[in-house]
């Protein structure tokens, strides 16, 4: 890093480093998204007793790129009566809100890169990183709601309305389920939260103390990403395709990508807050192993998503609302009260 500092100055060097980091993380996340889609299709095929796409490349490995090419080359259809500006804006909001959170993910511990020096595998450290993630993902609902409104289609509008109601309802329990972890670690910085879980050979994970919080988080997070069994905004048996009925070609692809990036975000937050992030046995000796652990944990959550999709039926809308408001929210509040009581008594004992 020294020679770079001398060449272009420290702040420019830092900016360049962040630029490189952002690009690497961006391409990496998009690759993960592409292969999550393929994995979903193959695993769903396995669950349903069929093969899934396996012709493009060895074992279907190039299928995501063929799909992307198809999305790019397809004709863009805009409904005649659509509100054009909002119709164009909606997918942009969706994908931007999904991708903006990448900058605070702690991908791994401090590793030593040849010629560069020690590098922390996170793009930006941020005092309120967790709140930043929640804030940015909460903006993503505009993408869906506006898409539904601007398409000028009954099914789209119903999908958008359902999405807005569902996301607001489950955001409460999602936020409250994370309060327990924040109370325990005393910080909102994701990097710090991960570092605090490095005890017991890297197995001192928050899930040991926060099983209830983890349970509530996982369920509300699945609802936040509009995935089965909470995929009412795009319920194809009732609403054709929900909010993106009228979207085609690349604009549809953006919604599609946004959904999978959001799944990735949820998995990253679950891993970071509850499953120790990059921590695991042997990370202290070989820091790069941390990245492997991190990706393995992410893979587990993504697999869980696909598994759920393959096995569970969809909620009815009143069931969904009942479940969110009358079961998850009280559970999350109980978790907050329990955790604060324990934290308080520990504090009192430490004082005396």
């Amino acid at each position: 890093m020294e020679w770079l500092n001398n060449l272009i100055g420290p702040s420019a060097a830092r900016g360049l480093g962040q630029l490189v980091g952002i690009n690497v993380a961006f391409i990496g996340v998009l690759m993960i998204v592409a292969y999550t889609v393929l994995a979903e299709r193959r695993i769903l095929g396995f669950i349903q007793g069929r093969l899934g796409p396996n012709r493009v490349g060895p074992g279907g490995m190039l299928q995501p790129f063929a799909d992307l090419l198809k999305f790019i080359l397809k004709e863009e259809l805009v409904p005649d009566q659509a509100t054009r500006f909002v119709y164009m804006l909606a997918p942009i909001i969706a994908i931007t809100a999904a991708l903006m959170t990448i900058v605070v993910y702690p991908f791994g511990p401090e590793v030593h890169i040849p010629f560069i020096g020690p590098v922390r595998l996170t793009i930006a450290r941020f005092d309120v990183a967790l709140l930043y993630v929640l804030a940015i993902t909460s903006v993503g609902v505009y993408g869906i709601a506006l898409a539904g409104w601007s398409s000028n289609n009954k099914y789209s509008l119903l999908g958008g309305l359902r999405a807005a109601a569902q996301l607001i309802s489950y955001e409460l329990s999602l936020g409250l389920s994370l309060v327990g972890v924040v109370l325990m670690s005393g910080t909102l910085d994701l990097y710090n939260i991960v570092e605090q879980q490095s005890g017991w050979l890297g197995l001192h994970w928050n899930i040991i103390y926060q099983p209830l919080g983890f349970f509530v988080y996982l369920i509300s997070a699945i609802a936040e990403t509009n995935r089965v069994p909470f995929d009412l905004p795009e319920a194809e048996t009732e609403l054709v395709a929900g909010f993106h009925t009228e979207y085609s070609a690349l604009k549809f692809a953006l919604f599609f990508m946004a959904e999978y990036v959001n799944m990735f975000t949820v998995s990253v937050l679950a891993t970071t807050l509850f499953l120790g992030g990059w921590n695991g046995p042997g990370v202290a000796q070989f820091p790069l192993l941390g990245v492997v652990y991190f990706l393995l944990k992410i893979t587990f959550f993504l697999f869980l998503y696909i598994w759920l999709r393959g096995t569970l039926p969809r909620f009815r809308f009143d069931q969904l609302m009942n479940f969110g408001w009358k079961f998850l929210l009280p559970l999350a509040i109980v978790n907050v009260i329990l955790t604060s009581a324990v934290v308080y008594f520990q504090f009192v004992r430490a004082q005396s």
Binding site: A12, G15, V128, Q166
Partner: protein, 248 residues
């Protein structure tokens, strides 16, 4: 300042990069300021309520960025979560649900009385801002310099302040908000429509309890009939409503 840096800008690209990095704050401020003011004007000027709502979201986002520049990341995040992420989503939800059409063109003469009042208000606001800029700002800057590094915007200092010095106002505010919620619910449900025992689920249809849990003593044995009218008569219902053309 620019003339001072211009020669070095031309000579060494390294220094130019450095200069860009140093003045990034100002650039970001001008950008956010432009977005905030432009979106605010657009919010007032738009005729379609949904466009106004979207403009307001942009104002909130730009304001959050300005808070970040003022070293208050917590306030910025809360601004986005609460205003852009929750309140405005509800506003958009209601606009979509009611399917509000474009606001009808108001007659230009209406509300003309308020124009001078608005001008006076704007003048007062400008005078206030100027006063703050020229008198208060310096004193605050001096105090901040005397105190060393500022901790005002940090999450920990905001939390400590809320639960110690400002505990009473904080609690009063939360009680007020709770009262507002209860009041809104009381106003929204008319007593004749919904009884307190009915099942009300937020965001879904309002369903009476007996539709969700049918009473056990309701007779549900099938009636043997060849037509709807016959079945109606069998059940003792008004036959005229159910008569179909075949019978006539």
């Amino acid at each position: 300042m620019l003339s001072l840096f211009a020669p070095t800008l031309l000579t060494t690209p390294a220094l130019a990069l450095e200069w860009l990095a140093d003045y990034a704050d100002e650039g970001v401020f001008v950008l956010l300021f432009g977005v905030a003011v432009g979106a605010a004007v657009s919010m007032v000027a738009q005729r379609n309520p949904l466009y106004s709502a979207i403009s307001l979201v942009f104002v909130f986002m730009a304001l959050a960025g300005l808070y970040l520049l003022l070293a208050a990341p917590f306030i910025a995040a809360i601004q986005v979560i609460v205003y852009a992420g929750a309140i405005m989503v509800l506003v958009v939800f209601v606009i979509m649900l009611l399917n509000v059409e474009e606001e009808e063109r108001r007659r230009p003469l209406r509300l003309r009385l308020l124009v001078p009042a608005a001008v006076v208000m704007a003048a007062v606001l400008f005078a206030e801002s100027a006063f703050i800029l020229y008198f208060v700002h310096d004193a605050a800057a001096e105090r901040a310099q005397a105190a060393g590094a500022s901790t005002v915007g940090l999450t920990s200092s905001i939390g400590a302040g809320l639960f110690t010095t400002y505990l009473l106002p904080f609690e009063i505010t939360s009680a007020l908000i709770l009262m507002a919620i209860v009041g809104a619910m009381t106003l929204a449900r008319r007593a004749s429509d919904i009884r307190p025992t009915d099942v009300v689920v937020p965001g879904s249809m309002v369903l009476a309890r007996h539709t969700l849990t049918p009473e056990p003593d309701v007779d549900s044995t099938p009636v043997h009939a060849r037509s709807t009218g016959e079945a109606g008569r069998e059940l003792g219902l008004a036959g005229a409503q159910y008569r179909n053309e075949e019978e006539e």
